[in-house]
């Protein structure tokens, strides 16, 4: 009999669903904040992001299903013993995060953050010209579920979409053009919106450095929802202060949380949110995570581990396919 540790906040309906799949399993439901090393040690299966430190190559653990799309912390040596299966929750967050991205795209182009600041001071003042998504060009860097869903929305609204990804692949209908990341420098000057939805890895760290930000149009907008480290934060502050870029929206920052006295808080034309675009804030996100976990549980128990969804490649931190 396998023991399944579930640390995500499931309700009775979710429990019934998971238990109907894992009929011969023993389920332990422990909220993430209260999980102990003993809970982790006795589990063959874990559903939820338990602290990597608690795992320490736990000998009985056969599979861990993360509730996050990012998985870099679990790929590091010393966390999972070799052979442990790691799956993430890619596919659960695209809806919530792409609607957030669309919202901040319009906030930036329509200066709605400035209007809100004016409102707080009871100021009725016209802030002038705006642009539109319709007719704009969006450069979407990172074409996982999140980048793909954002591209679909920008395309549906009349934007021209250019996708950039790590590896070559076929062009989906919602992209007008697709390239690998080595072409980034020549693509940046074409975009009105540049979005980053990248996992954390040595290859993505500071992918937006000062030189690249300067290659963007002076009026272009930069949006980051992946990992804060994808942007050189000091350079971004300098670039914005110099008047370059139409603005930026950051749901992730480096460092995180952003210290109270960090200059980024007051950088001009900047929208900062505290890593809230994803999480379980949208009910549908959580439902999707439970469905991914349930589907994977079914395949795992049937011995069809090759058919599990979102298998993570430890070497790259990306999904295997």
């Amino acid at each position: 009999m396998r023991t399944v540790l579930v640390t995500i906040p499931v309700n009775d309906r979710h429990k019934e669903y998971l238990e109907s799949i894992g009929k011969d399993c023993e389920f332990h439901y422990v909220p993430a904040a209260r999980v102990t090393e003993a809970d982790v040690r006795q589990a063959q299966i874990i559903i939820g992001n338990v602290p990597p430190k608690m795992i320490q190559e736990s000998p009985d653990l056969q599979w861990i299903q993360l509730n996050s799309a990012g998985s870099d912390a679990y790929c590091k040596p010393g966390v999972l013993k070799p052979g442990t299966i790691l799956t993430n929750a890619t596919g659960a967050y695209g809806l919530a995060i792409s609607e957030y991205m669309l919202g901040v795209s319009i906030m930036l182009q329509n200066k709605l953050y400035t209007y809100h600041k004016n409102q707080l001071q009871h100021v009725w003042r016209d802030e002038g010209d705006v642009t539109s998504i319709y007719g704009s060009t969006a450069l979407i860097i990172g074409l996982g579920d999140i980048g793909g869903e954002y591209a679909k929305r920008m395309k549906a609204l009349g934007g021209y979409t250019i996708g950039v990804r790590r590896t070559q692949s076929e062009k989906p209908d919602y992209l007008d053009e697709i390239y690998t990341v080595d072409r980034l420098d020549e693509l940046l000057p074409r975009a009105d919106f540049v979005s980053l939805s990248l996992p954390n890895s040595p290859a993505t760290r500071h992918i937006m450095n000062e030189e690249r930000m300067k290659k963007m149009k002076p009026t272009a907008f930069l949006i980051n929802v992946g990992r804060g480290e994808a942007i050189d934060t000091d350079a971004l502050c300098r670039v914005l202060k110099s008047g370059h870029l139409g603005g930026c929206a950051l749901d992730v920052t480096d460092p995180e949380p952003l210290p109270e006295d960090h200059p980024l808080w007051d950088a001009p034309r900047t929208i900062i949110t505290p890593h809230i675009a994803g999480k379980f804030h949208l009910q549908e996100t959580f439902e999707r995570i439970v469905r991914i976990a349930g589907g994977n549980l079914e395949n795992f128990l049937a011995g069809k581990t090759g058919e599990m969804r979102n298998l993570v490649d430890f070497a790259t931190g990306y999904r295997k396919r």
Copy 2:
């Protein structure tokens, strides 16, 4: 030879376009802020919203093309002499205003206005649950160009769209259901988003009164981009303070501009912008106005006044068709 007074801020390319149509006309270009009664008196054709007071049934005026979608101020007795043709700029503003509406829809559902207030105070704080346009129900009151374009966008993002209009008409593809306005009371409880894009008229004044706001879901969002008078402002303040409604976004207010000490500025869960969603802030809006004016000029000069676009019915203040 006809004299055409143009008060909208045309550039050389626009002038060339209009003059190529009105070959036998004399064009007077006077910026709206500097226009005089003498300019108005000598014009047979006016392109632009000259102050209604200046017109005073100007005897030579044959046609006025407004640069606004609203035309109520020109329908009042004593402004245009009987027989004068009035056309408005419906169709020019749908793009700009519907993107604005989409932006504030997401700002409301994702609490992005609260996050921006937190940012101004350097506060990194999670504000909890959100909802999505995907799977939501939008009740769109007023199905002109603006309401229609918003409906298309909500539908494209996975929303369920219910349209309400004054007169019966066929259901377009981007609406899931369509009704006349007498059904409003039974529709309000179904909606997650209620949008108002209505012209000013006795029939639309306070169409959203306290009773109707209370019929909305406690979590629903109210958006107004038409005329401020469509909402009973005092009632809205009371309703929001009572905790009812998820929030509201107002690009138009009553009164307007909103006085510095008006309680609406500080109403909870409220986004206020100073009537900026339209105007000429988006270049494409202005291009569309010029194209409407040019097309109408061609038909007017050819004597095909029945084929002119956006002919206004003085009795209702709406387009004739």
